[in-house]
Symmetry: C2
Subunit: 340 residues, 2 copies
DNA sequence: TTGTAGGCGTTATCAA
DNA sequence: TTGATAACGCCTACAA
């Protein structure tokens, strides 16, 4: 037998049964609110429960019921994510609300090292969760492999390059959103519109550029696009500085993210441009950045909460054995502030 | 027996035993890497595992071992928290790193509704976790009650008013940090220093005011303190507006948080004051706010990651049955930028 | 080195 | 209505 690391033994159904003079079966029935418990038994049980301080061991219940009523929410690299991206918190909340309504527990699993990766993979396969929601998955991830191999009901927010084919994905339409805000920007009468593209190796980055190009059509000018590897402030600042030297006459700018836009605004200011008088600028994400820049940034709002809710809904669907769409796409909206 | 919601049955130790022609005991021993497994048995077992696709059910193992190797990380109202407070993410990371090093799984449990409160309380008492870390606990919280009643090894980040006496707390010294930054502000030669106090009903808020007062000593002027209920941008803006009307000659300002400071800066600007030339301002938290205001805000940095790491360390200590300090206090540092 | 069997705390079946 | 009893998947003393 095991030797528990010296902690107070907790009362069990067995104890309650002894103390109340009924059988474990009856106690169990009482606990699960079934009918067929006489009021005499009920009272005895209630007294016994108080007396011994019984609290049900859900883990044991799960073992026999073969379900844990909980789903994992896996988030990679939360260090940068939580700080830079307010969406992640909203996604969590959306997922939790949906799960909660169906009485499922959401357990957020942080992946911040290789150790974490392995441990979380074990956790997922260990019967603690019935399903998983994954945000910002990595390529060649043991976690995705586990999900795939175990056929664990899962939904990804975003679409990683090598995700399990059996999973579902909830995504936003980066391309049409980028096109929408570019069109809006052009409608303000700007003639020379540039873009600070970012993360072109990711779907999101590439799609935002594609949307920009699409919106401009014939007026698209390749020389007005400057790229930076990450969705970062400094990247935006540096790229904008280069762009400004190459094309000092730009009067409109689409940044691939709010952070990039904020960096670009610093460069614009340093170059003596007024915003939006000389150069109008728009971003993407509707992050806290967009509300704290001066002037406030016009940007694209992601339905973060809905993203999470939808992912949860998909997992729940699969859990019930119902058919779940393999991909669902949610619409973004343009929020217009003062920067353009 | 239960009827699992129609999912693929997973192979068990039993199946592996059958397929490999050895007993369950031997399979179990192999899995747990014990000695006393012949190489013949080993090979047969390995083959069988691959064949049937066995993956251990950790939940079942936990039941018999009486330990889950995981601790809950409970966060309330993450909606506002994740967005306003970058510290929370850092605290999570710090806790996770420490737990991970000891091979414990951290499960973040979000509390966002009454439903959540009850479910999480059940989860905590259900044997899924061996301990808990709580950030931003609420008063009269069923969760704290459960922790108290079950004597669940726990550590709080911050010290809620009615926390279980048996728990441990890791806190920062708001008072001396506030005193430190106020002293630094005074050292720049400011004569009339005001404060936008906030959340005076919380320890943190009251202590920051106390530190401010302490640092100023005789020069403390009660009429230069304006209070606002929450650590919010709008509260800071409105309070600063009032203060400015009452005392137009202030030349220094300590805001109880960065968000409050950012709001105050808006008010200052609206009143035509230059920062820091006319009025120098400092905040508290070193949140993203402080890096995005113009000019960048001088502020107090909380050792967020260490806060989380320390809380985890305390829980781990208790888990081992070792004595854990009832409270540990961590130092803050002043980070000086351009606003003062 | 291996097999047997009992138990972890529940729920569920079935006869009483 | 209730009480035995057999699972759930695993670990581990003890015997062989």
């Amino acid at each position: 037998m095991a030797s528990p690391p010296h902690r107070k033994r907790r009362a069990t159904v067995h104890d309650v049964a002894i103390h109340s003079g009924v059988s474990r079966g009856t106690v169990s029935r009482y606990i699960n609110g079934e009918r067929y418990v006489s009021s005499a038994a009920r009272e005895a049980i209630e007294a016994a429960i108080r007396e011994v301080g019984y609290v049900p061991n859900t883990a044991a219940r799960n073992l026999v019921m073969q379900r844990s009523q909980s789903v994992g929410f896996i988030v990679h690299e939360p260090g940068s994510l939580f700080i830079e991206d307010p969406n992640i918190g909203e996604i969590m909340l959306g997922a939790n609300a949906t799960l909660s309504a169906e009485d499922h527990q959401m357990a957020v699993l942080v992946v911040d090292s290789d150790r974490d990766t392995d441990r979380v993979a074990r956790y997922l396969s260990g019967g603690f969760v019935e399903g998983a929601i994954i945000v910002s998955a990595r390529s060649h991830d043991p976690i995705s492999e586990v999900i795939d191999r175990l056929e664990l009901p899962a939904a990804y927010v975003g679409r990683p390059p090598d995700a399990p084919a059996a999973a579902s994905f909830v995504v936003i339409d980066n391309r049409s959103a980028a096109a929408a805000i570019t069109t809006r920007l052009a409608a303000t009468g700007r003639r020379r519109i540039g873009m600070i593209a970012a993360a072109l190796d990711r779907d999101s980055g590439a799609d935002r550029l594609a949307g920009f190009r699409e919106a401009l059509g014939d007026r698209f000018d390749e020389t007005l696009v400057e790229a930076t590897p990450l969705y970062s402030y400094s990247g935006g600042r540096d790229a904008a500085t280069s762009l400004l030297q190459r094309a000092p006459d730009i009067d409109g700018l689409f940044a691939a993210s709010d952070a990039v836009a904020a960096g670009a605004m610093e460069a614009l200011r340093a170059a003596g441009r007024r915003i939006p008088e000389d150069v109008a600028i728009v971003g993407f994400d509707d992050s806290t950045w967009s509300r704290r820049t001066i002037p406030a940034l016009s940007t694209v709002h992601q339905p973060a909460r809905e993203l999470g809710a939808e992912a949860a809904r998909l997992v729940l669907l699969k859990l019930r054995g119902e058919a779940a769409p393999t991909q669902v796409q949610l619409d973004c909206s343009v929020v217009w502030r003062e920067s353009a």
